[in-house]
Symmetry: D2
Subunit: 285 residues, 4 copies
């Protein structure tokens, strides 16, 4: 009879929705997080025989998220994630590694007191891995949608039997930025990294979205000395110039169709030269 | 043999995604719209026998949207919708009524030239009905998410056999505003109406979300003299105070669980007194 | 100082997710519902002054949904909705009308005992209005996606300045059916109505999606004698034949691009002749 | 001045929506795919200087997907993905690795001829990596929602300061299965693997969702001798028994609240013992 082996495995509570209000005379502050915990360790028994002696229930993990928000406050998504990850490894003998992933939803104050408006779309992210290798922090942003009305060309590419795309010297360039960045230690300033991404998108004259990607990653590395690696995933949100000639109209780069699918997807990593960067911990399924 | 009758019917092209760039020395402007057209008229033949002699294809409607953006520009969502609606009724003998619905996605300039960032979440809406009754314009906003950390109570309600909710003198009040408003003529200023909604949410001490709804509608009517009717749909996005007592912790209105479902849904109309308001045209399916 | 008037208004608990298990020796049965309640009545005080003396909290409505599932069981979505709607009107002096809307998610048994697989996509719907006019029941289905590989033409339509669409004698016809139907009394068999919709889509040679719509509505009326009105909303999910000529290939109706947006949207009502049909109650916002 | 280095990178066309109709006297067959291509190779110039001499445009990749469907047909998602991946590597000197990911949407025939109904929810997946290491094929299914009304316990777990969850000897177990599997060569039968997943979920008496996960993976390995590795991601879709005691009602495992968030997430790999399994190629961002 063949036997089967348990490979890498993890478990945890995903998407605990936590809102914390700091009440202050000069105006409240709110922190709005979606917290996901995943744990690894000596968890074979639970898989092989259903013996849960080593299992901290995911319900308890959720409770811990809420309790820590009260006990320790939330100085920032990265710090809160690190505290949680360290707690699970430190207090559970069977747990050797923890990953805490946080999405942070931004809000803007409406008045100087108690009212806020949620900024839609863009989300701040933080992922902390904690294990025998220490603590690895990955910060990021996703859903940051940018568009340039000009300053983008695309030509000089390979033509084969299946090519129909005409070259262009002026097109709209639009993308929804998903970016993450890592420092060797400490936690780089997310606002500075985000500003560098936007700035480089704006001021890079583009001959390819790949070129814009490299410029965006490089700008983060320039502006944030403690960052050593930037990862970018940039969908090319195609805006097609509509052919108005059948209606007797010209279209001098004015009227576009914003397409849904398919879309180009450009992804890449930009790294600081001459620095030894530890491999990124990735728990993928 | 029984016979069957064709009742109200409409057809059209939904969700044409149009982006228009106005190029100018002082900085480009972009308009990002999702345009849906629906037409009514003498369309029985198409339903009963498949005779399409009276049918303007939805593909042509889409072409018209793009062509009009070039021919006439887009002075505003309401005006663009009205022009399209009038065009279909004026030029198609079989078409007697048109509804053009537009969602407008806001973008913010990133620099003084060519780069923009999309503001997420909140969407501007405009619906124009044009027919024998003239032109009816309904403007609005949807997905405007607001939250108050205090200044909201809820008590004094009916208790029956199924009631377990405790009364509260201090809760978080949060909602995602879907609002529409109508003027008797012309097109009220959407920015003013939106500002009135936010302001009234912020400065109304609330004993019920219904009360906040009425205050928000009334504020729009106060600020926008040409508006005669405001419709509001306000989901009560519950934020539940987490019980931390099992962990030996108090929770002085600080740590909340943001719930997904179910949610309260409060909807209502607020109207200007002493004004005869034509019934809203509604094509519902 | 101008005064403002409260117009139509309603409130209630939306999207209470209820799963009921009927345990039986011969195999369990599960009912999976998403229940939304909306109530109307003498609710002005809550809006004008925040006096909630007439307000049954939405939390209590949620509790009632769960309690009724235990007290009365769920003989069907329509019956369960009617029982809830009648309860709120009968027991709350201030409430004069109730609407209960239910989405039902279908599951298929995997074995003869306890295991089920959820059938994705298609959802059964039931909406009950109860008020001074009695009880009105609207049953339906949504998300029923159908496609014909042939047997669909489209030609003979209006051509104007903006028309570029070529006529076709053979195209794919695909749609996602949203349908509702009403009987004068009692509750028509939803499975029979759904089967009639599918059958008419399949066996109607189509010259227009409008014609298919009318055939689908008529078929329900033929098969379900107690149904008097059918409403249909049919997006035309365009499948465009890809032009392979640039690659030296023909495309004999074989390779298609399934487009997302825009899409045609065809909507209509089909009614039984010679029957007086009470107007449909609609609470729209 | 610091310099920056381009790390791993890839680009391609995502989500090309392809529908193919095979026309046959005995009834048509349709294949409905969402095809995503990603390529790696000597692409530094495009990033560093915007020189696109090595870049095959994503538009051409899309064209190739459509053309190959006509030229070669689609014998199966895995085979079609492999053919595309090999083509890009074989014909583009600068491209050394390709990944083609396919989602396949199932349809059921409605009649014996031309009409189909889309089966919602569940999706078949296939990912092919082709490069210097040869060809790696990963098949899978996602969105397969399963539920057991009984036969699931959870107890014996760790209790700490933050634990409030009561132990249970009888609960609903529900999940949405995302699974992938790999063979050493050739392409295992997806239907057999899927059936094994469902069967093991049904007949495993569960003391932990981890145990069910291991049983599901093992069953695939038992039934499909050519499979060497199974990966599973199982959200625990919590169904909470509603407390009806405040209403004077018992609740003998009958009425449940189906919760949205948070949810447990159990993930793991099950492997065939004593077989050397090449590491899975993963391009993550």
């Amino acid at each position: 009879m063949p036997t089967f082996e348990l490979g890498p495995n993890q478990y945890g509570k995903a998407e605990t929705r936590l809102v914390r209000v700091e009440r202050a005379a000069g105006g409240d502050r709110i922190t709005d997080l979606n917290v996901s915990v995943a744990l690894r360790g000596d968890l074979a028994a639970s898989h092989l025989t259903g013996d849960n002696a080593a299992v901290l229930p995911t319900d308890t993990q959720k409770n811990t998220v809420y309790a820590f928000a009260r006990e320790h406050g939330i100085a920032g998504a990265e710090g809160f994630a690190a505290r949680l990850a360290e707690h699970f490894v430190a207090t559970q003998p069977a747990i050797h590694e923890a990953r805490v992933s946080i999405e942070e939803y931004p809000w803007s104050p409406v008045d100087a007191a108690h009212t806020f408006r949620r900024d839609g779309g863009e989300v701040r992210t933080a992922v902390v891995h904690h294990g025998p290798y220490g603590t690895q922090t990955v910060s990021g942003v996703k859903g940051l949608v940018l568009l340039k009305t000009t300053g983008s060309e695309f030509h000089g590419y390979v033509k084969d039997r299946y090519t129909t795309l005409p070259e262009t010297r002026d097109r709209i360039l639009a993308t929804s930025v998903d970016a993450t960045w890592r420092g060797l230690e400490g936690c780089p300033d997310p606002a500075a990294a985000r500003a560098a991404l936007v700035e480089a998108f704006a001021d890079t004259y583009s001959y390819a979205l790949q070129q814009t990607l490299f410029a965006m990653g490089s700008r983060v590395l320039q502006r944030c000395p403690e960052v050593v690696e930037v990862r970018l995933s940039l969908p090319n949100r195609h805006h097609f110039l509509v052919d108005l000639a059948p209606f007797g109209l010209d279209n001098p780069n004015e009227v576009y169709h914003a397409a849904d699918r398919p879309y180009g997807l450009i992804e890449g990593v930009v790294r600081r030269d001459g620095v030894e960067i530890p491999e990124e911990v990735a728990w993928t399924f």
